[in-house]
C-alpha cells in the first residue's frame, strides 16, 4: 500500500517510549499494521530506548536473581508434560496474525475482522458513529466515523491531540487527499474541513484527547449531540 500521510516523528518517539494512552496506542498501531515505512521507523525510534538502556546506570540485582530465574524456568519446563523448554511454550498464534478481513489487526479485538459488520449509530445527517469502549481509565476517546460521500465535516479545530486513520474511502482537506491507511496526525492548533470524496463513504478511526471544538455557534450547540 502506497501511503501519503504518515505519523509525526514526535508521535513515533512517544509511541516508542510508551507515552500514549490506549486510544492513541491503538490508532498508531493500526496505522503501523498498514504501513511498513512507519513500522520500520517505529523500530528506529525504539533504538533511542535501547541506547538509553545501555547508558542507564546499573542497579545491583539480588544476589540470587539469576539462580531464581533459572529455577522458575526449570519449574515451568517440568510443568509441561512433554518437557519442552519454557522458551517454546509461548507460541505465537501465526494463523491469527495472517489476518483475514479489512480491519487492521490491532482493531480486530474491538470490531471483528470485517468493516461491513460494524454497527453504526446515526449522529447527524450523513454521519454515523461507532464508539469503542476502552474503559474509564483511558482519558482519550476512540471511535469510528462513517461519513457519506460528498459530505463536508464542519470546519473545526482541536482541543488537544487528534488522529484520524482512514480505513476505507477518502477525504480531502487543506493537507491533501487521505486514502486508506493514511493517518492525519494533527497538532492541537490546526483547523481543517475534510470533504469526503464522491463514490463511497469514508470510514475512519478517530482518537481525540479532548472533544473536538467546532467553530460556528450551530456546530457548537450540535457538538454535545454529535459528540465528535
Amino acid at each position: 500500500m502506497k501511503l501519503t500521510h504518515h505519523l509525526d516523528d514526535a508521535t513515533l518517539v512517544r509511541y516508542a517510549a510508551g507515552d500514549l494512552d490506549e486510544a492513541f496506542a491503538v490508532i498508531v498501531s493500526s496505522h503501523l499494521a498498514m504501513c511498513e515505512q512507519c513500522r520500520k521507523a517505529s523500530h528506529d525510534a525504539e533504538e533511542l530506548g535501547g541506547q538509553m538502556l545501555e547508558a542507564a546506570e546499573e542497579t545491583a540485582v539480588n544476589e540470587d536473581a539469576f539462580a531464581k530465574l533459572m529455577a522458575a524456568i526449570d519449574e515451568q519446563n517440568q510443568a509441561n508434560v512433554d518437557g519442552v523448554d519454557a522458551q517454546n511454550v509461548h507460541q505465537f498464534p501465526k494463523k491469527r496474525a495472517a489476518i483475514s478481513g479489512d480491519v487492521p489487526m490491532p482493531l480486530q479485538r474491538f470490531l471483528g475482522s470485517q468493516i461491513a459488520d460494524i454497527e453504526w449509530k446515526k449522529v447527524a445527517p450523513g454521519i454515523s458513529k461507532h464508539d469503542i469502549d476502552l474503559g474509564k481509565d483511558v482519558p482519550s476517546s476512540l471511535y469510528l466515523l462513517n461519513i457519506a460521500e460528498g459530505q463536508a465535516v464542519p470546519e473545526h479545530g482541536h482541543g488537544g491531540m487528534e488522529m484520524t486513520l482512514i480505513l476505507s474511502g477518502a477525504y480531502t482537506d487543506r493537507f491533501g487527499r487521505f486514502g486508506p491507511g493514511d493517518i492525519a496526525d494533527l497538532d492541537e492548533h490546526v483547523e481543517h474541513q475534510p470533504i469526503v470524496e464522491a463514490g463511497a463513504p469514508c470510514i475512519c478511526l478517530v482518537a481525540t484527547e479532548k472533544p473536538t471544538k467546532f467553530k460556528g455557534l450551530v456546530e457548537r450547540i450540535l457538538q454535545p449531540i454529535i459528540g465528535i
Binding site: D8, D9, A10, L12, V13, R14, A16, A17, G18, D19, L20, D21, E22, A25, V26, S29, S30, A33, R39, K40, A41, S42, H43, D44, A45, E46, E47, L48, G49, G50, Q51, M52, L53, E54, A55, A56, E58, T59, A60, V61, N62, A65, F66, L69, M70, A72, I73, D85, A86, Q87, F92, P93, K94, A97, A98, I99, M105, P106, D137, V138
Partner: protein, 199 residues
C-alpha cells in the same frame, strides 16, 4: 545463524559496536540452543540496567526487582523470535521492559504493541542474516547517540527511562510542550537519517 557467530574484522574497534555485536551473537545462541551461559552473560549486562530503569520510573525496589525478573523471563522465552533486521538487542529488550511497565504502571495495555509485533513475526518467513548491514546499523545508532546534544538527550532520557509523559517533561524542565516535541523530533531525526542511509 552460524555466520552471525563470526566476528567481522574492524579496523577501528568501537566498544559500543563490539558490545552490540556480542549481544546479537549471545541472543542467537539462546534462541537456537537454549544456551544458559549465553543467557547468563545477557542477564549480567541487562538485568541491572532494567532494574535501574524501573527505579527511575518511580517503582519501589521490590517491584523493580520483580519486574526485571519478568522481563528477563520474556527475553528467554522470546529469544528465538529476535530478528536483527528489526533492530539491536538493546532496543528489543527495551521494548519488552517498556511493555511490562505499561501493563503494570500505566492505565493502559501493551496489547497494541504485541499485535504489531506478532504481525511482523508472522510476516517474516525468514529473517535475513546480513552481518554487514547489521554492523553498519549498530555503528550508525551508536554514532548518532554519541553526538546527541545534551538538551535533546535529557528529553529522551526522561521519556524512555524515567517514564515521564510529554507534559511531565515540559513541566519538569520548565519548557513549552512544543519545545519538548521539537527536541524529540531532532533527536530521532538524526538517528533516522543515518539509519535510512543503510537500509
Amino acid at each position: 545463524m552460524r555466520t552471525a557467530l563470526k566476528l567481522v574484522n574492524n579496523n577501528e574497534p568501537n566498544p559500543a559496536i563490539e558490545l552490540a555485536k556480542h549481544h546479537r551473537q549471545l541472543i542467537a545462541r539462546v534462541g537456537s540452543s537454549q544456551d544458559r551461559a549465553a543467557f547468563q552473560a545477557l542477564f549480567e549486562h541487562f538485568a541491572p540496567r532494567i532494574k535501574a530503569m524501573m527505579l527511575k520510573g518511580g517503582m519501589g525496589v521490590m517491584q523493580a526487582e520483580d519486574l526485571m525478573q519478568d522481563v528477563m523471563m520474556t527475553v528467554w522465552r522470546k529469544s528465538s523470535q529476535f530478528s536483527p533486521d528489526r533492530g539491536t538487542v538493546s532496543a528489543w529488550i527495551f521494548t519488552i521492559a517498556r511493555n511490562a511497565r505499561i501493563d503494570l504502571m500505566r492505565k493502559a495495555s501493551s496489547r497494541p504493541y504485541d499485535d504489531v509485533y506478532e504481525m511482523e513475526i508472522a510476516a517474516d518467513d525468514k529473517s535475513s542474516d546480513d552481518e554487514v548491514l547489521q554492523s553498519q546499523r549498530e555503528e550508525c545508532i551508536s554514532a548518532a547517540l554519541q553526538d546527541l546534544p545534551k538538551d535533546q538527550r535529557e528529553v529522551i532520557q526522561l521519556a524512555f527511562v524515567a517514564d515521564l509523559s510529554q507534559s511531565e517533561i515540559a513541566k519538569k524542565l520548565s519548557l513549552p510542550i512544543g519545545t519538548v516535541k521539537s527536541r524529540m523530533r531532532l533527536a530521532y531525526g538524526k538517528l533516522k537519517g543515518k539509519l535510512e542511509a543503510v537500509r
